[in-house]
């Protein structure tokens, strides 16, 4: 089946069976490799994207369900994501970096949904994302700092 996917505001036409997970359509067919494979069973969050603003594990979401929706990946840009990039950079957060696409997407969703997330909010929002290198404490700090930046900017 031919599908048109709108990824970060740009249309990509892909030829995929309807049950193909969105992850592989994005990576192998649309050619955007920033979204990562980690487990394929919605356990690690490496494949996180936003679909119409909703946080989705793209390894467990069919490509056909993403039609006529706006897909946002790590290659995209939003005001919130830019704040997070800034504080990720300031805190030298990534180690191997592989999980960080998913971490940043999940954090973007958190900041878009909650004005001033508490540590508990961060635990709840970020525990679907595994970082084998163990950058959690830095991620937590960077999220708090991004919130401060964002709230100051308003």
């Amino acid at each position: 089946m031919k599908y048109t996917l709108s990824i970060n505001g740009k249309n990509h036409t892909v030829d995929a069976p309807e049950e193909m997970p969105l992850l592989w359509a994005i990576r192998d067919l649309a050619g955007l490799t920033g979204t990562k494979y980690g487990c394929g069973i919605a356990q690690c969050g490496a494949c996180s994207v936003l679909i119409d603003g909703r946080l989705v594990k793209s390894c467990s979401f069919s490509v056909s369900d993403a039609i006529n929706k706006e897909i946002f990946t790590i290659e995209g840009s939003s005001e919130t994501l830019e704040f997070l990039r800034q504080t990720w950079n300031d805190g030298n957060v990534p180690q191997c970096g592989y999980c960080q696409s998913g971490q940043l997407i999940a954090a973007t969703k958190l900041l878009d949904a909650v004005e001033k997330p508490t540590d508990k909010d961060i635990d709840d929002a970020m525990s679907g994302n595994i970082c084998r290198c163990g950058t959690y404490t830095r991620i937590r700090k960077a999220i708090h700092k991004a919130v401060a930046l964002k709230n100051n900017a308003i």
Binding site: K36, G40, I41, T73, W88, N92, P94, Q95, G97, G134
Partner: protein
């Protein structure tokens, strides 16, 4: 640096695997003696293989070790840039391809900085000297009147300055200084070394533009998934590909034979497709009858009993003992005995093993996440029966390695399939493949008996260990531990005990055994440092004082090591960590505190952990770690590694367990092989000791103290001893 020669542009491109233009500084590390190789590509100043300066000032530095999150690319490049007086803003860093010209490229054993820091500094210093000569010549002044500063050469008399990039042409004509004339900077003048430089890949990491092996793309490439026998080295009896071929996108199904080498492929049935998912689906649709082979009976539950029984009987004596253990036990005031068990573990780097290979025209090119590009090159060449010179290994970023990516079996698979398909083929392991066909961290049982005199001093130490050896992967039927495994904590602990007796019991391997971040230190540290805490309790002493007493007086252990153990440094990190933790403070109800100090990879690390145990749930609240790793290249990176090691140690303490039934691995993905997550993450404080001693490892040494420190804290909170990992099996998660 003995001989000098110049490499042509063509050869240069062959070595680098990239088209370059600009001054390239090269050093040939073939064998042990580094040789200088000067490269002339016509455009850059390149006096050795690691430095390439272009006319626009851009400076490309080469990292011969693989970046997998440990910060090595940034660290090594910062050492070159520092000595060169380069401006960091002009620097970019690339991985070297697999080539003996770069010296040993194996990225494991936490040794990159320790072994090549000085050579890398020399690469930078050499470039600086040559740029100074070039400028002096231009100005017609003496070299000593010129200094390098922030990408410029400055004439100290006239204050005139020339940009590095503008010296490329002139510098190319300068002859290479001899090794003895290369002067390294004084520590106090360091600009980047010891400072908190950020990762050179930060921008890519946060924009999805970092390229890992799994992201490598070539025109017309195919994707492959391989079904491998559930038990190691089993074979395919028959298979039916009908259902696999029905999957849209599946191109072909082919059988692969095992390559009987330590890093050869396991073999199996491969599905080739136009995308990764179709390959995965096709693989799931294969009908295969396996012959499970010799390892088909492996049952880890029975095996646990077997090796536990064995450490309760006499074993082979391991060197490192002294005194008379029987006498010590006979004269003891008290004795303590305990048995410890740590199961198999798997690496689970977030990026699964993968490789893209393209075999064509008698040549082979590979793009892969590898810790060992030269080993990958060798395996590829061996498989194809071609000369190594015809194999190029392009090293991408690694989405974690932890030892898994030091074993290039997956590269052989990609090479074999590319050859069969006559097209570029990328082999991608699923997470299930990664967990079920690994080179596992070994399984171990240990028995320790200690004696105390009436003052609570340790007089005797009997330690038996049993674990399938890594050697078995290289030499089948190696049923006993190897010297390097004993030297990881077992027969070189720092304790001052008059009577020591060490034994090793037989342990056959039924899976491929490999090394995993901090290797044998994981189980030896767990056994030893848990037992020290048991002895302290028996002696009725505070664990801090007990540990300090056991380490004993300040001394440097003499031996063959270039980095002999210094007990003063060991006690120092312990004292720092307990101070950070405010050891002895009053703890809330249900809380407990534990400590461990351990020496590994020539670094000294102490961790103090505070936990609470409430309703049988252990929660780690704080981890305080102090490390002395000699001269620090990048302090923030060391801190990052200690934080990561704490989480890695927590994962194995709470959840890490690979089991086998009927030869097959039971766990398959993150639902049954769990990891520490954000909600479990404690606060972690790290102190890095300021030191002038030689730089030693940081990637691994943070791991060994964590498990025993957590378990000692649980004892402190509850009075319950943990002698077996992981905690999930004893209802504490």
């Amino acid at each position: 640096m003995s001989s000098k020669n110049t490499v042509s542009r063509r050869n240069f491109v062959k070595i680098f695997g990239l088209a370059s233009s600009g001054l390239i500084l090269g050093c040939n590390f073939s064998g042990k003696t580094p040789k200088i190789v000067r490269i002339d590509d016509g455009i850059s100043f390149a006096p050795n293989l690691f430095v390439q300066l272009k006319k626009d000032g851009k400076l490309i530095l080469i990292s011969s070790r693989s970046e997998m999150g440990q910060g090595v690319k940034t660290s090594l490049a910062s050492a070159i840039a520092d000595e060169m007086e380069a401006d960091w803003n002009f620097v970019s860093v690339q991985h070297a391809t697999g080539n003996a010209a770069f010296g040993n490229q194996n990225t494991d054993g936490s040794r990159s900085v320790r072994t090549i820091l000085t050579p890398m500094r020399k690469m930078g210093a050499m470039a600086k000297m040559m740029l100074i000569s070039a400028a002096a010549k231009k100005w017609n002044v003496a070299e000593k009147e010129c200094v390098a500063e922030n990408h410029y050469i400055i004439n100290t008399k006239t204050k005139e300055k020339i940009f590095f990039g503008d010296l490329v042409e002139e510098a190319k004509k300068v002859s290479i200084p001899s090794d003895k004339n290369i002067q390294l900077k004084d520590k106090k003048d360091f600009k980047y070394i010891g400072k908190n430089l950020k990762s050179v890949d930060l921008h890519d990491f946060t924009h999805g533009t970092a390229i890992y092996g799994i992201d490598a793309r070539l025109p017309n490439m195919k994707f492959a998934a391989i079904a491998r026998c559930p038990s190691p080295f089993g074979t395919v009896t028959s298979f039916d590909k009908t259902e696999a071929l029905k999957i849209t996108g599946v191109i072909d199904v082919v059988a692969l034979d095992r390559v009987k080498r330590a890093f050869g492929m396991l073999g199996g049935v491969a599905v080739i497709a136009t995308n990764t998912w179709a390959a995965f689906q096709g693989k799931n649709n294969l009908e295969i009858t396996w012959n499970l082979g010799d390892n088909g009976n492996y049952d880890s539950k029975k095996y646990k009993q077997l090796i536990t029984d064995r450490v309760h009987k006499k074993g082979k004596i391991v060197p490192g003992g002294k005194g008379n253990i029987n006498k010590a036990f006979k004269n003891a005031d008290k004795t303590v005995e305990a048995t410890y068990y740590v199961p198999h573990l798997v690496h689970a780097p977030m990026e699964v093993p993968n490789a893209l290979a393209w075999v064509h025209d008698g040549k082979c090119e590979v793009w892969t996440s590898t810790q060992t590009p030269q080993r990958a090159r060798e395996e590829a060449a061996n498989y194809l029966g071609i000369d190594k010179e015809n194999v190029t290994i392009n090293v991408t970023l690694l989405g974690g390695g932890f030892g898994r990516k030091a074993k290039p079996d997956y590269v052989v698979e990609a090479v074999a399939l590319s050859k069969k398909m006559n097209a570029p083929v990328q082999v991608v392991w699923s997470r299930e493949d990664e967990m079920q066909h690994a080179y596992y961290h070994t399984v171990s049982a240990q028995y320790i008996k200690g004696s105390l005199d009436d003052k609570g001093k340790v007089t005797g130490w009997l330690h038996r260990t049993a674990f399938p050896s890594i050697t078995s992967t290289f030499k089948p039927l190696s049923d006993y531990g190897a010297g390097f495994e004993f030297a990881q904590g077992f027969n070189n602990h720092p304790f001052q005990i008059p009577n020591i007796h060490l034994e090793n019991a037989k342990a056959e391997a039924y899976v491929r055994i490999g090394w995993l971040r901090s290797v044998a230190h994981i189980y030896h540290s767990f056994g030893i440092n848990s037992f020290v805490d048991e002895l302290a309790a028996k002696a009725n002493k505070d664990p801090l004082l007990f540990n300090l007493e056991l380490i004993g007086n300040n001394r440097i252990r003499q031996g063959r090591s270039k980095y002999p153990l210094n007990t003063k440094r060991l006690k120092n990190v312990l004292n720092i960590a307990v101070k950070m933790a405010d050891w002895g403070k009053k703890l809330p109800d249900g809380h407990g505190i534990g400590l461990t100090v351990h020496y590994s990879f020539y670094s000294y690390v102490a961790s103090v952990v505070e936990v609470s145990v409430i309703n049988d749930k252990v929660k780690v609240h704080n981890i305080y770690t102090a490390i002395d790793c000699g001269l620090v290249l990048n302090k923030d990176n060391v801190i990052n590694q200690m934080e990561g090691a704490a989480l890695f140690g927590m994962s194995l303490t709470f959840y890490g367990e690979i089991t086998a039934k009927n030869g097959a691995i039971v766990q398959s993905n993150f639902h049954d092989y769990q990891m520490t997550r954000m909600k479990d993450a404690p606060t972690i404080e790290v102190t890095v000791v300021d030191s002038d001693e030689p730089a030693t490892g940081v990637g691994e040494p943070g791991v060994p103290p964590i498990a025993p420190a957590i378990c000692n804290a649980i004892f402190n909170a509850t009075g319950k001893r943990i002698r077996e990992l992981p905690l999930k099996n004893i209802g504490l998660v």
